[in-house]
Symmetry: C2
Subunit: 154 residues, 2 copies
DNA sequence: CAGGATCCGTTTCGATACTG
DNA sequence: CAGTATCGAAACGGATCCTG
């Protein structure tokens, strides 16, 4: 997991803008478009977040049994990473001391709109083997939808 | 670039839902949350898109000179991939036959909202070394902002 | 049995040199 | 200018092992 350590150490992961002399650019001054490489650059990070936010997964076991079959070592590293950057927090189950529950922080919950907009894009252009009605509702009531999911964790 | 070939071949890249028996899930039926792994799982794909959509980059040279210093072989593979999946299209410059211009397709333009929501999230939580005023305008006039960028390519 | 660490072969990345 | 070719470094991921 050296890559994450490096990303965290360096401010470069926040992709600063280059000079903006491009004619086609909509910006007058330096382009304020920062993308978090640490987050979007990893196949599993956003995936774990989706499992938590939209599927209600909480424990290591649930994540590992997800259809994508993430390897346990990879999963462990991602949970650790997401916790370290403040997107998730963990707590030991009261009922079973072996079980650790992961839940999104406020910062993590604020990613819901990002995932939602991505989901809507995917639905428009890629295979959708999922209920059309719910996607439609999600599209028409985006804010409410986001609020509802948020409410489940607060 | 075998990974992309495989992703394209397999419908698995559209992360189908597992059974949804989780108590905390907001879904009644299979969760319609598909994320395009091929796109978000790669550090460079979204980055190239950002350079095109928000910085107005067009040519191989411009991308390669971007601050993140993407290696030329990686850049070539990503441009090829993004073109193959229909997010970009290329055309040879009329002025210089050596130069190839890449521009977003309609499908690519539809990703603007995704990137915008990500940018707003990043601005809220990560270092912002960019004009606050423009981010604020972008936040308050999101739709107009998106439309303006779109208009530059249509 | 849950969470996760270790080992290790395989795949992918990415810096540089090089080519049409 | 727009890419390939090469090759060492890094990450993946499956199996297995460890610990409470």
């Amino acid at each position: 997991m050296d890559i994450f350590a490096n990303l965290m150490r360096s401010p470069e992961n926040l992709i600063p803008m280059t000079t903006n002399s491009q004619a086609n650019s909509p910006w007058r001054s330096p382009c304020p478009v920062n993308i978090s490489l640490e987050l979007v650059g990893d196949k599993w990070a956003l995936l774990v977040l989706r499992d938590i936010l939209f599927k209600g997964f909480k424990s290591f076991k649930e994540f590992s049994q997800s259809k994508e079959r993430i390897a346990t070592n990879i999963l462990a590293s991602r949970l650790k990473f997401l916790t370290e950057v403040g997107l998730l927090e963990s707590e030991v189950s009261e009922k079973d001391a072996r079980v650790i529950f992961y839940k999104p922080t406020s910062k993590g919950l604020d990613l819901i709109p990002v995932i939602v907009s991505l989901v809507l894009w995917v639905d428009k252009y890629e295979k959708h083997s999922v209920p059309k009605a719910e996607i439609e509702w999600m599209k028409k009531n985006t804010k409410k939808f986001i609020a509802e999911i948020r409410a489940k964790f607060e």
